[in-house]
Structure formats: structure tokens, C-alpha cells
Symmetry: C2
Subunit: 225 residues, 2 copies
């Protein structure tokens, strides 16, 4: 099945992607990164095992993951880098610009603000909110830092799609309750706390500690051998 660009392909892709598991979505993000690298280096077509090798997975897994997008790739010919790149961008919602508000302009928040790949991917931080009077009124890049009590206005004015929570753990839930009330439907949480959100709000947690702790677990196990 070939997919032509534009809305038609978008609709078509959707039919295939409404039931994609979260782990597969994460791998699709990785495959997209690899395909873009291949594209830059002039590769026009790749086999599933090339993606598998870079992704640290198996060719079977790659084929299964991509099968959610419909039946691509021709036996022996592999996948068209250009076509699969376009489809993955569409599926992952990366052919549009997402307006992002950064809540918390501390160390982590500032680092995230200055993380250039976010913008390259279409995630534009167009608002920054902090409760520190010393920060409110200053600028992060070209963005004015607004006071926390102004947050609802800012979210509405800037038509924010998604918020990044980079405030201390005790402040996170209260702030996010207000974000939800302001009808924002996606939250990326860096605060070390489990947030409770309604079913219809997408939440992803990035824990700075959990991955480190699974390494100390691995090191401890290794020490037993």
C-alpha cells in the first residue's frame, strides 16, 4: 500500500494508528530519528533489520511496529526512507506546531527551554510561568516569564496545547489541576510526583531518578554474581 501526502494519507494513516500501544509509539519515535539520519546520509531505502540494529531491537519487532501504519516495504526492497519518514511524522503528530507552556523556570525548566531539538520537532515553548518574583518579568530567550497567578490567562492567550511541568513536587498537582481546568489536554511531568489527571488528558512522566535507580539495581545484581 502506498500513501500519498496530504489529508488523504493522514486519514488513511489514522485508521491504522488508533490502537497503537504506547511502547510501539515510543519505538516509532526512535525509528523516525534513524530514518531522518539515513535520509541525511542519502540512503533512500532501508530494510527492517537496519532499523532494528540501530534501535537495539529485532527486525520482527520493527515489522510488527510498522505494520500498525499499514503494510509498507516490499520483500527484498525494504522501506522507502522518504515515504516512511513522512508517514511517521504524520502519525506522531509532528507535521504541525504544538504550542507549549513551560511551568517552572528553574534549573530543569531552563535546560528544557534551551533544548533546541524540541523546537526543531515542532514543540514551540511560547509561554513560561514561574512563582519566583525575582524571575517574573525577566525573559527566558525572547519569552517573558509570567507570574503563576496569571497562568490561566497565559494558557488561553497563547492557545497552549501542552504544558511541561518543571516545578517542585509539592506544587505540581495544584498547578496541574488549574491546567486541566484551563482545558489543556497534554502534560509532560518532570516533577518527582505521581500526578492525577482526568482520563482525557494525556500524561507522560519523566523521572530523573527512576532510570538511575534501575542502574543501581543492575549494579547491585552484578555485584552478587
Amino acid at each position: 500500500m502506498r500513501i500519498s501526502p496530504g489529508t488523504a494519507s493522514f486519514q488513511l494513516v489514522n485508521e491504522f494508528t488508533n490502537r497503537v500501544p504506547a511502547a510501539t509509539v515510543r519505538r516509532l519515535s526512535l525509528y523516525l530519528r534513524f530514518l531522518e539520519d539515513f535520509g541525511r546520509s542519502g540512503v533512500t531505502s532501508v530494510a527492517s533489520n537496519a532499523l532494528a540494529e540501530r534501535g537495539g531491537t529485532t527486525a520482527a519487532q520493527v515489522r510488527k511496529d510498522l505494520s500498525y501504519l499499514g503494510s509498507y516495504g516490499k520483500r527484498g526492497l525494504g522501506y522507502s526512507v522518504e515515504e516512511l519518514t513522512r508517514v511517521l511524522r504524520t502519525v506522531l503528530g509532528l507535521d504541525t506546531v504544538w504550542r507549549v507552556a513551560l511551568l517552572g523556570a528553574g534549573r530543569i525548566g531552563t535546560a528544557l527551554f534551551e533544548y533546541e531539538p524540541f523546537r526543531r520537532r515542532g514543540f514551540h515553548i511560547t509561554a513560561v510561568v514561574d512563582n519566583d518574583p525575582a524571575k517574573v518579568g525577566t525573559r527566558l530567550g525572547h519569552i517573558l516569564v509570567r507570574a503563576e497567578h496569571e497562568m490561566e490567562c497565559v494558557l488561553r492567550e497563547e492557545r497552549i496545547d501542552l504544558v511541561i511541568v518543571a516545578v517542585p513536587a509539592p506544587a505540581a498537582q495544584g498547578l496541574v489541576d488549574r491546567v486541566v481546568a484551563a482545558d489543556v489536554k497534554a502534560v509532560l511531568n518532570y516533577a518527582p510526583v505521581q500526578l492525577h489527571l482526568p482520563e482525557d488528558v494525556a500524561l507522560r512522566n519523566v523521572s530523573m531518578l527512576v532510570e538511575l535507580e534501575s542502574l543501581s539495581y543492575a549494579l547491585t545484581r552484578a555485584a552478587d554474581c
Copy 2:
């Protein structure tokens, strides 16, 4: 089964934890955080559904996860907060100090260096390496930034257990190959690239983009409804 503190319990715990799946290890990290909160607020015993509620999972999942540690909790009495906290710290390798080297003192690296919970958890960044002549010889906190060509000496001098990779993607694999050659057995990777390491080296990847992209995926799906 009750577990007494000290080496005996450590050995005992190990028997139960050599086959714990990665996803369970991640949840154990979360349960530990919740148990510590409960402990601070004076709670002495918790039911599995209290941990489930905070962890956004089910009581059955909590009981299954904790069953890897042996049979805790008495029907109706729940789990001893103090005992389970101690066991989880031991299992996760958090009752020791891990010596960590930070590779890359850029925005992300600096934010990680200043992320206080790492130290509280026993992850002490005792070495920082960067290839920028303007940074080498300066200090991050009280740690002298060393040159990349000195890395092997630094890893040996500081008896580093674990490295955090916060260098640009193109530099990451080459640097990590040297880390592996220097016999470091754990790598936390923040570089947006898939690293290839020997079987006996534990690797965890933290992608700044993958979680954001799974949110844009969710937002796109929601838009279709």
C-alpha cells in the same frame, strides 16, 4: 516472612530479586518514593491499594511487584512502611553510595549536576568531564571540570561506578566505548542516540523527545475524535 536489617536480609532479598523485570524495578522505585512520603507523614502501615492509588496502578499489580521481594504484608494489616522502605532501598541498591561521572557540562549536564535528589539517593557526582577548553579547569559546584582526554585517568582516580552521558549525539558512542574500556558497568544516556554496549554493561536511555512525541501522538488521536 520478616526480614531483619543487615547483610542477612540483603542476601535473603537477593534470592528473590535476581529475576525482577525492568518495568517492575521502575515501579519499585516509585513505591519507595511513596513509602518515604508515608513514613514522613507518620504512616506506619499501608495497604497495597494505597500504593496502587498513588502509583496509578492496581492493588493486584502492587502485590505482584512486591511478591518478588518475598511474601510481605499480612491480610488486613497491609505492609510495614518502615520494613518495606528498608527492603526496597536494599533491593534497589540505595543503601550505598554510587560514584558517578558526568560526561558533558552543557545545559542538560549542568541541570543534572545541580539536581539535588540524585545526591540524596546516594548518587554522588564526583567527576565532570568536558571537551570545551573554556570549561576545562573551571568548577561545577566544588568539582573541577576535567578534559575529555583525561577521562580514563579520572574514571580510575575517582573509582567511578556509573557515568551520565550528556554530550552531543555524534560524540556519545566514541566516548562510551572508552568508558566501557575503562571497565565502568553502568551508563545513563541523555544523548539522543542509540548506544551499543557489551551485554555486561547496564544502559538506560532518557530521551528528552520520545515522551513529548508520544504526547503529540495522543493529541493528534484526540483531534480525530
